[in-house]
């Protein structure tokens, strides 16, 4: 059970949060101009790597804000937490 440091509320138990999948996948601005393959890339393809992964999390039972997390999926160590719109920290 993680202890997650919400950038707006502080440290809270994992059960207050909802995971939202891989981060930094921007919705294409002009979807109609994309080929099926390009659209599928956005829609379906996710990395799911072993190691440090950038993820979206939502403080669903708290401030309801979305934020980003860098988490090592091999040991669940949270390396960094940063707000939406911010660049991921260097490794």
């Amino acid at each position: 059970m993680f202890l997650i440091n919400c950038p707006y509320c502080g440290e809270r138990d994992q059960q207050e949060f909802k995971a939202g999948g891989e981060a930094h996948i921007e919705r294409p601005k002009q979807p109609t101009e994309l080929s099926d393959d390009q659209w599928a890339e956005y829609l379906f393809m996710r990395k799911n790597i072993k190691g440090v992964q950038f993820e979206r999390w939502n403080h669903a039972h708290g401030c309801r804000k979305w934020f980003n997390m860098a988490r090592d999926t091999s040991n669940d160590e949270i390396k960094a937490i940063y707000k939406m719109g911010e660049k991921p920290p260097p490794q």
Binding site: M1, F2, L43, N58, W66
Partner: protein
Amino acid sequence: MTKNLRVKSSEFIDETSRISFKFDGKTYYGFKGDTLASALLANNVHLIGRSFKYHRPRGIMTSGSEEPNAIVQINPNSNITEPNARATEIEIYEGLEASSQNCWPSVNFDIGGINNFLSPFLPAGFYYKTFMWPKSFWEKYEFFIRHSAGLGKSPTTKDPDIYDHRNIHCDVLVVGAGISGILAAKNAAKNNYKTLLLDEKNELGGSTIFETNENKKINNTFSSEWLKKEISELKNIKNLEIKTRTSVAAYHQYNYLLARENLTDHLEKKDKKNKIRQRLLKIRAKKVILATGALERPLVFNNNDRPGIMLSSAVKKYSDFYGVACGVKNIFFTNNDTAYESALSLHNKGIKVAAIIDIRENSDAKIIKKTNDAGIKIYWSHTIVDTSGYKRLSDVSIMKLSNDGMSVTGSKTSISCDCLGIAGGWTPAVHLYTQSGNKLTFDEDRNVFVPKADNSAQICVGSCGGDFELDEIIKNLSNKLKNFLNISQTDFEDISLENDKETSKRNIWLLPSDKPTGKTKPFVDYQNDATAKDIKLALREGFRSIEHVKRYTTTGMGTDQGKLGNMHALGIIADTAGVKMGELGTTTFRPPYTPLTFGTIVGRNVGEFFDTFRRTPMNDWHIKNKAEFENVGQWKRAWYYPINDETMHQAVQRESKAARKSAGILDASTLGKIDIQGSDASEFLNRVYTNAWSKLAIGKCRYGLMLNEDGMVFDDGVTTRLGENHYIMTTTTGGAANVLSKLEDYLQTEWPELDLYLTSVTDHFATASLCGPNSKKILNKIIPELDLSDENFPHMSFKEVTIDKIKCRIMRISFTGEQSYEINAPASFGEAIWEKCIEAGKEFDITPYGTETMHLLRAEKGFIIVGQDTDGTMTPIDLQMDWIVSKKKYDFIGKRSLYRSDTMKENRKQLVGLLTEDPNIVLEEGAQIVSELNQKPVEMLGHVTSSYFSPNLNKSIALAVVRDGKNMRGKKLFIPMENKNISVTVSSTIFFDEENKRINA
């Protein structure tokens, strides 16, 4: 043959308070402070149960939670009986009743015992190999296996006890209150760390608390005396909370631990009453110190499982702590010096020790000399090759070990005894450490797995950390604490220590016998009856991974998770396969460390507190009017309102007719409501709905369909424009929370530039939906001043009105096809407005209807219910709702996906109507649809999604999704059911009032 084996009064046992208890129906006596195990041993009872597979007689092996054999059923004759309790952990109380498990008809005569003689036919994987074929026989096998295996009886009634949860936050959590744990907790608390100390026993001090070894003194007194003084000082330390009878079950990441605090299990019945039985502690600790100690290992030799064969440390504890002799003639069998401590301890109390059998060639420890001085015979370089005594050990046979330890030589000597203490060395109790996600490393010299590395949030101290000698424990503990707690000194670093060190150890995982392995029974996992032979067989059959061997042989898979035998299993695998232990790795220890009852896990969340119920403001009225309810998500919704003896069908038919004939009223308060305000509100709706919103006039309503980004229908509902920059969106009842989450997600992450706010107001408004040809007249009675003409208040528009000074919003929208008004009142006035409608509607026979009638009425009109007629694979085109998908809008959520090759395919499953050939047959929802009856294998074209008998059409109607359904209008299809095939014809999805005339009637 009851005999009193209480040999010496003990300070831990209160001999002034005698306690009676029953075991297997017979009454025995013990004292306050006894466990069931110590009390039975004092009565010379060793035979406790039968083993799982071979039904061999088994006795008490240990004195703690690692016990594999002495597993009992508590309150065996009650329907709230509890199985799988360890006799070594149960503190006796007046009136305790326990019985043997896993034996029938009795522990002394057990029919399953025949398995013992059949055992050559019950090798590893026997159950897998035999009972898996033929498959259809499994049910019969299962019956047989379950009856003869008998893993205890489950309780048959609801657990009457109260359980509780508590969150605890602390700076330092110390697990285990042996000497290391106590010193660690004391020093942490004294240095201003908020500290919590837990121990599974009722007494602090671990094994040191009864240590009277002359050769292991602290400050020139017995270590037990020194520790008692330390413990007495604990109560004066603020910042320190101590919980006994509390065992840590799980150690999760981020120092989150779950512990079970046992509050009343040791009390007699009258004192248990109305008290919380167990409490689950949910602990968040900044730092964790694991001082969980070590478990003594058994030795693996032929027939090492008879009642009377125990761990040497347990024999010592029963004698030193409980004052009980486990036998009148004791023998020890060892590979290290610790058995000698036990032997001398017994000897000093006048308990006979007949011999010590040691597999080593010799040892020069001081304690050996003392043992010789005591006149105890030591057999060096010997091993036990066999034991005898069916229900109680009677003899052991010993032989000389060959130099390499692989075989035995010479002649056999038999020694009679009734208790054998075995000492195979120590295994650090690293279970919690590994649960926390950390790795172990194998120490080849000492043959132990020890924690790999400490970190800033967790350390292992004492024997759990791999220090077994008192001087090492104290010295390393002090250094570790200084570093871990960032303190300059500890209060025990200057104590003087005497320590007679262990000198040598000889490790042989599987001890040889004069018989070949195939003819012996050297048990590795006592609880699951796995022998060394089984492990070797698994290896011969090609299993290599330790995890596979474990599952195939069931080694370590009992309720004790193989706490005693796992190391031997690994050792035997390593030896047989010719690999190093360290390379083999260990199996994973999983939570819980010791089993938890379900009651503890769920705590207070039982019965009505299992989940939250949401009730509408009109709920009391529904109850008064005898509504039946259905659960919709967390909501309790009125389902139908039976009159007198009406069945559900009769009630729904009556309600449905009435709503179309005159007037009906539905509680629609549960619909999700999201208030949207901001200068970009219209643009936002444009992006989230498939249709266009910019041109919706203020005061008008519009139906909208929301997709997922993959193009599939996600939710629907009517949204009303209340003002220039103000909308109120309704969602489905079940989808409300998800819709809000999704909208917030897009707003925060994709479109943060949009200026608007989303607020859930579902609970703020109550909604009474008036419908039917007389709804206008009823509303007119309630608000005479409001012009209800179609010109002033047309379909799909909204008015803000005041009813009895209550501000209400009325939307003229319809989910039934009838003229219909939804009155939204502030929740606290919901019931008043509802009753006003009922009152005004009396002269028109207004009929309250529930969700079932609502579903029927909308099905007559072909309106979909998201989640019933759709399942996450339906696009709006599949639903034949092309009209709602804007061709002009550049983008909206899911738009691009509607042009993917797959979503554009012609023969997707599409929503259609179905009419049965026989109008009286109502199809089953979920029924499969085919076009051919004789085709094999038959192609499933789709399934029925909604089906009703329509009282207004006097025939059966259904909605269904059918492959290429759009092109099948008029085609005959079949619904094959268990006893019959039902013929249906594909129709329009709209069955009633296709021209939509009634909306303005």
